[in-house]
C-alpha cells in the first residue's frame, strides 16, 4: 500500500471543533468578552458526538465550539470595539491613578460604544423572525424593569427595560391582542397574539425579589443588552403597523393636564410623562387621527360550494373574536389600593374597559371612587366600610377568569369575602379522556352559551364530585396504609377477633394468628430499634422523609375536608335561597 500514514486528529471531527480557550485566543479576547460576544452573536457551544475524538484522546469535559462559527466571529466589527474598550479602561485607570482629572474627563467623553443594530438585522433577517423570538426578550425586560437600583446592574439598563416594557404593554392595549392570563405562584403569565404569532411572557409580582446568588448577573445583563435592542426595534415596527406615534404619545393631552397638582407630588417634571405612560390609563396618539376604529371587514370573493361554507364559518369566528376583544367595553372599574394595579389596569384596558384608582396610589387616575357610573369595584380585602349599591364589589380574580373565559363570568362567586373558585390555567388544553375540573366544565358550558344548570342538577353534580373526592381520599389513605402497616394489622386483628367471638374458636387458627402477630410485633420492635440506632444524619433524613409523608397525608385530608365543608356551605346557601324563592 502506498501513501503516507494518516496521523490521528488531523481530520474529521477533531478539526471541526475548537475548545473555548483556543477560540478565545484566536479572537484575542478575554473570557468575559468572549462570552459576551457569543451571546450577542447567537453562537452557542456544541456537544460533539465523539468527544474523545474531538478532545484528542482526552475525556476531560470541555466546552467546544464549531470552528466555522468562530471563524465567522472573526469578521465581527464588535470584536474591535471590545478591544478598544479594554484599552479605554486601562487608560482610564491610569489617568485615575495619576489623578489627571482632565484626562479622565476627556477619556470618558470619548468612551467607545458599540451598536447591536447590525447584529439584530443579521440574526433576524425579517421582522417576523424577530417577533417569533421576542418571548425571551419580553420576559427579561419585564424582569429587569422590576429590579431595585442597587447596583446589581446599570440603572440605565433598568430604565431602558422599563421604557420598553411600558411601550410593549401600551401596544398590546391598543392592538387588543391579549389572549390569556395566568396567575401562578411564580409570576403572571400573559399570552398575546401579535401579527399571527403567539407570544408568551412572564412578569414577576411586584416586590417579589430576593436576588439569588447562583445567577451570573453578567451573563444575564448581556442577554438583556441584546434583548432590549431587539425589543426596541420590534416595538418601533409594531407601533408603525398600528399607525401609532413612536415614541408613544398620550392621546388627548388636555384631559390629563387638568390635574397638575398631584403630578408634582408624584413625580419629577422630567419623569412625569413616562410615569403617565406607564400608568396605562390613557390611550395613545395616532399618526393619522382616526375618528373611530373602522370595522375591518373581510374581503368578499365570489366562491362556490364548500368554500362558501368555510368562509361563513370563518366570518363568524372573526366576528366572535372582534366581540371578544372588547367584552369589557362600557364597564367602569375602580381598583382598590391593595390589588395589583399595573396588571389589572393592563388586562382591563386590553379588553376595552375603563379603569381608575385612588389618585394617591399612582399617577394617571381618571375618576374617583365616588363616581356613580363605576360598575365594578375591585377589592381584595374581607370587607369594606362604605359600599355603593349600584356597583359590584368583586375580587381581582374575576377579571382574570373572565379574560380567560372570554366572557363576563357571573359575579356571584367572586363577591367580597367569598371563597374563590380555583383559578384554572388557560394554558392547559385537555384532550379526550383527561380529567377536567368541574369548574372548567361549568365554564365551558357558559362559553357555549348554556344557562347555568338548575340547582338540583348542580347538586347532583356536586354529589358526584364529592364521591370523586372521596375516592381521591381513599387513594391517599391507601398510601397512608402502606406506611402504617402495623396499625392496619392491629385493626385487622381486632376485626378478626370481633368475628371470632361470634364463631367458635379453633385453637389452631388462633395460634397461627398469634404467631403472625408476634412476628409483626417483632418487626415493629426491630424497626423501632433500628430507628433508635440510626446515625444522627440518617435519623435527620428519616425524620424528614416521614414528616414529608405525613404532611402530604395531612394536607390531602385537609384539602378534602375544606372542599367538603365549602361544598356543604354552598349547598346550604343555595337551599336557603331556594326557600326564600
Amino acid at each position: 500500500m502506498g501513501g503516507l500514514q494518516k496521523k490521528k486528529y488531523e481530520s474529521g471531527s477533531a478539526t471541526n471543533y475548537i475548545t473555548r480557550n483556543k477560540a478565545r485566543k484566536k479572537l484575542s479576547l478575554s473570557l468575559a468578552d468572549f462570552r459576551r460576544l457569543c451571546i450577542l452573536k447567537g453562537i452557542y457551544p456544541h456537544e460533539p458526538k465523539h468527544k474523545k475524538k474531538v478532545n484528542k484522546g482526552s475525556t476531560a469535559p470541555r466546552t467546544f465550539y464549531l470552528l466555522k462559527d468562530i471563524r465567522f466571529l472573526l469578521h465581527e466589527p464588535i470584536v474591535g470595539k471590545f478591544r478598544e474598550y479594554k484599552i479605554f479602561v486601562r487608560k482610564l485607570r491610569k489617568a485615575y491613578g495619576k489623578a489627571e482629572w482632565g484626562g479622565v474627563e476627556r477619556l470618558k467623553e470619548n468612551k467607545p460604544v458599540y451598536k447591536l443594530d447590525h447584529i439584530i438585522k443579521e440574526r433576524y433577517p425579517t421582522f417576523i423572525d424577530a417577533l417569533r423570538d421576542v418571548d425571551d426578550s419580553l420576559s427579561m425586560c419585564f424582569l429587569f424593569s422590576t429590579f431595585a437600583r442597587t447596583g446589581k446592574c446599570h440603572v440605565q439598563t433598568i430604565q431602558l427595560c422599563r421604557r420598553l416594557s411600558v411601550e410593549w404593554m401600551n401596544y398590546i392595549i391598543s392592538s387588543r391582542s391579549l389572549r390569556k392570563v395566568f396567575l401562578s405562584i411564580k409570576g403572571i403569565y400573559y399570552q398575546a397574539e401579535v401579527l399571527g404569532q403567539t407570544i408568551t411572557w412572564i412578569i414577576p409580582y411586584q416586590f417579589a425579589h430576593d436576588h439569588p446568588t447562583d445567577v451570573d448577573y453578567r451573563v444575564m445583563a448581556t442577554f438583556t443588552e441584546f434583548y432590549t435592542t431587539l425589543l426596541g426595534f420590534v416595538n418601533f415596527r409594531l407601533y408603525q403597523t398600528l399607525n401609532l406615534v413612536y415614541p408613544p404619545k398620550l392621546d388627548g393631552q388636555g384631559e390629563i393636564s387638568l390635574k397638575p397638582e398631584f403630578e408634582e407630588d408624584y413625580a419629577l417634571e422630567s419623569e412625569s410623562y413616562t410615569e403617565k405612560l406607564s400608568a396605562l390609563s390613557a390611550s395613545l396618539a395616532r399618526m393619522v387621527p382616526s375618528a373611530e376604529e373602522e370595522e375591518t371587514e373581510l374581503d368578499h370573493f365570489p366562491i362556490e360550494g364548500e368554500d362558501l361554507e368555510k368562509m361563513e364559518v370563518r366570518e363568524k369566528m372573526e366576528q366572535e373574536q372582534i366581540k371578544q376583544k372588547k367584552f369589557f367595553e362600557g364597564l367602569k372599574f375602580f381598583l382598590n389600593r391593595e390589588v395589583p394595579r399595573e396588571s389589572l389596569a393592563f388586562v382591563i384596558r386590553c379588553f376595552g374597559g375603563e379603569v381608575s384608582w385612588d389618585k394617591s396610589l399612582c399617577i394617571g387616575s381618571t375618576y374617583d371612587a365616588t363616581d356613580e357610573t363605576i360598575t365594578h369595584h375591585i377589592v381584595d380585602r374581607p370587607s369594606i366600610d362604605k359600599q355603593y349599591i349600584n356597583r359590584y364589589y368583586i375580587q381581582p380574580q374575576w377579571v382574570y377568569d373572565s379574560v380567560n373565559a372570554k366572557i363576563l363570568l357571573p359575579v356571584e362567586e367572586y363577591f367580597l369575602g367569598v371563597t374563590l373558585p380555583p383559578h384554572l390555567s388557560p394554558f392547559v388544553e385537555e384532550t379526550e379522556g383527561d380529567y377536567v375540573p368541574p369548574e372548567k366544565l361549568k365554564l365551558m358550558a357558559l362559553q357555549r352559551g348554556e344557562k347555568p344548570q338548575t340547582e338540583e342538577d348542580e347538586e347532583e353534580e356536586e354529589e358526584e364530585e364529592e364521591e370523586e373526592d372521596d375516592e381521591e381520599d381513599d387513594q391517599s389513605e391507601e398510601e397512608d396504609e402502606a406506611e402504617d402497616e402495623a396499625n392496619l394489622a392491629e385493626m385487622e386483628e381486632k376485626r378478626s377477633r370481633g368475628k371470632s367471638l361470634s364463631v367458635k374458636v379453633t385453637p389452631g387458627k388462633a395460634k397461627a394468628e398469634n404467631r403472625k402477630r408476634a412476628a409483626e410485633e417483632e418487626k415493629a420492635e426491630e424497626k423501632r430499634l433500628a430507628i433508635m440506632m440510626m446515625k444522627k444524619r440518617e435519623k435527620y433524613l428519616y425524620d424528614k422523609i416521614m414528616f414529608g409523608k405525613k404532611r402530604n397525608v395531612r394536607e390531602a385530608n385537609k384539602l378534602a375536608a375544606k372542599r367538603k365543608a365549602h361544598d356543604d356551605a354552598s349547598k346550604e346557601d343555595k337551599k336557603k335561597k331556594k326557600k326564600k324563592c
Binding site: 447562583d214 426596541g232 433524613l541
Partner: protein, 457 residues
C-alpha cells in the same frame, strides 16, 4: 586650511602691511636651519612645518581688529592722526563733567564686564529663525491658493457647521449613544433600504458589507420553548387535583434525590472491621513474631523456583505422526463441507421457519429503528453536556396546601424568575451550566487583638 594659511602669509609679505608688534620681522625664522624630514607623511607636515610666522601674523591681525576695529593699514589717515593744536580751556569742562558724571557714570564693575573688543558680536541666528518656517510658508501659500479657489480647510468648515447648528438648534454630529441609554432612539430596522449597487467584492473588502451569517446558526440548539408555563397546579389558587398532581411530582423528585443520597451513604459507610486494641496490637507486632518462622522457608522456595523454571523440551514429531495428523485434518474438513451441503439441502424444507425468523428479525430492527428515532427526538429537547458541569434541573416551585393564600393579596410568590430565566437559558443549551466561583483565601487570616481592646479586657 593650507590655502588660508598661504593667503595670510601672502598678506604678511605684502608691502603695505603694518604690524602692531614692532619686533615682528621676517628675520627670526631664517636663523634656524631647517631639519630634513620626509614630507610624504601628514604627521610630518604638521610637526615640522614652521607656522610660527603665520600664527604671529594672525594674532596681530586679530589684535588690530579687536583694538582698532580693522587693519590699521587700511584705515584712512584722518582716523589715525590728528593735529595737536594745544589745550583748550580745561576749567569749565571738568566741572560739568563731574556733575554730569556723578549721575551717568557707570559702575566700575559694569565697565569691567563690558566687552572691550571693537569687533561686533556675531548675530544670534536662532533668535531670528522661526521653526518650520518653510513648511508653514508653503502651507500658508497652499491655503491661500485653495481659498482663492473657494475650498475651506477642514477646521474652518467644521467651525462653520457648528455655528450653523448652534444657530438652527440642531446637533450636527451625532455622538454615539450607549446601548443601554434609556432615551435612545429606534428606527425601522427591517425597512427595505436602497439596494447596494456597488461591486459586492469591493464592499466586502472595505468591510461595508458584513460576511453572510450561515443559516446553520439561525437554528436553535433546543426545541424547548422560551417560556415554559407551569402546570395548572402552579396556580395561585389551584384546583385541588392539579395541585395534588404537582405535589406528587415534587414529592417524586424529592424521593429520588433521597434515594440517591441514601445509596451514597450506604456505599460510603464504614465496614464492620474497625480497628480494636487487639487488632492494632497484632498489626504492630506482625513482622516481629513470625520472622523466625519465615527464614527457614526461604531456601525451600528457592529450590522450588529452580525446579519450575525451565520447561520441558518437547519431543520432535515423527514423520508418521505428521502424516496422520494431516489426514485427520483433511478428513475433518471434508466432513464439515459435507455437513454444510446437507444442511443447505435441508434448509429447503425449513423455508417456513426461516421466513418466520426473517420476519421477526426485520420486525426487531424496525422496532429498534423507531426506538432510536424516538430517542433522538427526545434528545433534541434534552440539555446537552456543554462543559465541566452537568445541567441540574432546578427544584420545582411548589406551595404546600397550607401555604396557599386564599386571595391575591396574601400571595407569597415562590421561587425567583431571574433564576428561572437563567436555568431556562442553560436548559436550552444557550449557555453552559456554571456555578459560582468559590471564594478562596490565599492567606490565612491572622487575628490580633488591638492593644486598646486588650487594655479594657
Amino acid at each position: 586650511m593650507a590655502a588660508a594659511r598661504k593667503h595670510k602669509r601672502m598678506a604678511a609679505s605684502q608691502p603695505g602691511f603694518l604690524s602692531f608688534n614692532s619686533g615682528l620681522d621676517g628675520n627670526s625664522s631664517d636663523i634656524k636651519r631647517r631639519k630634513r624630514v620626509n614630507k610624504n607623511k601628514k604627521k610630518n607636515w604638521n610637526k615640522y612645518s614652521d607656522i610660527q610666522d603665520v600664527e604671529e601674523f594672525l594674532d596681530d591681525v586679530r589684535l588690530q581688529e579687536k583694538a582698532a576695529g580693522g587693519l590699521i593699514a587700511e584705515k584712512p589717515d584722518a582716523s589715525l592722526f590728528f593735529v595737536d593744536t594745544g589745550e583748550k580751556n580745561k576749567e569749565t569742562q571738568p566741572q560739568t563733567t563731574v556733575k554730569k558724571g556723578k549721575r551717568s557714570k557707570p559702575l566700575r564693575i559694569d565697565l569691567i564686564l563690558q566687552p572691550d573688543s571693537r569687533i561686533p558680536a556675531p548675530k544670534n541666528v536662532l533668535a531670528f529663525q522661526q521653526p518650520n518656517a518653510k513648511k508653514q510658508r508653503r502651507m500658508a501659500e497652499k491655503a491661500a491658493r485653495l481659498a482663492a479657489m473657494g475650498v475651506l480647510p477642514r477646521r474652518e468648515k467644521l467651525l462653520q457647521l457648528r455655528r450653523a447648528a448652534a444657530a438652527s438648534g440642531l446637533p450636527v454630529k451625532e455622538t454615539p449613544v450607549a446601548n443601554n441609554n434609556p432615551a435612545r432612539a429606534f428606527y425601522d430596522l427591517w425597512s427595505a433600504g436602497t439596494p447596494e449597487t456597488a461591486d459586492p467584492y469591493y464592499l466586502e473588502q472595505t468591510k461595508k458589507k458584513l460576511v453572510k451569517r450561515p443559516d446553520r446558526l439561525n437554528e436553535k440548539p433546543s426545541v424547548l420553548p422560551a417560556i415554559e408555563v407551569v402546570g395548572p397546579g402552579g396556580s395561585y389558587n389551584p384546583d385541588f387535583f392539579s395541585h395534588q398532581d404537582l405535589l406528587r411530582e415534587a414529592h417524586e423528585v424529592e424521593v429520588k434525590k433521597l434515594k440517591a443520597e441514601e445509596r451514597l451513604a450506604r456505599q460510603l459507610a464504614v465496614k464492620e472491621d474497625i480497628a480494636t486494641e487487639e487488632s492494632s496490637f497484632k498489626e504492630q507486632v506482625e513482622g516481629l513474631i513470625e520472622e523466625g518462622d519465615v527464614e527457614p522457608e526461604e531456601p525451600e522456595g528457592g529450590s522450588e523456583d529452580t525446579v519450575i523454571g525451565p520447561t520441558a523440551t518437547q519431543e520432535k514429531k515423527t514423520e508418521k505422526q505428521r502424516r496422520k495428523e494431516k489426514a485427520q485434518r483433511i478428513k475433518e474438513l471434508r466432513r464439515k463441507a459435507e455437513r454444510q451441503m446437507i444442511d443447505k439441502q435441508q434448509q429447503l424444507f425449513q423455508l417456513r421457519s426461516i421466513r418466520a425468523n426473517l420476519k421477526t428479525q426485520e420486525q426487531r430492527t424496525k422496532q429498534r429503528q423507531a426506538q432510536r428515532k424516538a430517542n433522538q427526538e427526545a434528545q433534541k429537547s434534552m440539555p446537552r453536556r456543554l462543559g465541566r458541569l452537568k445541567f441540574q434541573a432546578p427544584d420545582l416551585d411548589v406551595q404546600l396546601s397550607h401555604e396557599l393564600a386564599g386571595s391575591l393579596r396574601g400571595l407569597k410568590p415562590e421561587g425567583s424568575i431571574l433564576k428561572d430565566r437563567f436555568m431556562s437559558l442553560q436548559k436550552r443549551n444557550l449557555i453552559e451550566p456554571r456555578e459560582r466561583a468559590k471564594f478562596k483565601r490565599k492567606y490565612k487570616v491572622k487575628y490580633t487583638e488591638k492593644r486598646a481592646f486588650r487594655e479594657i479586657v
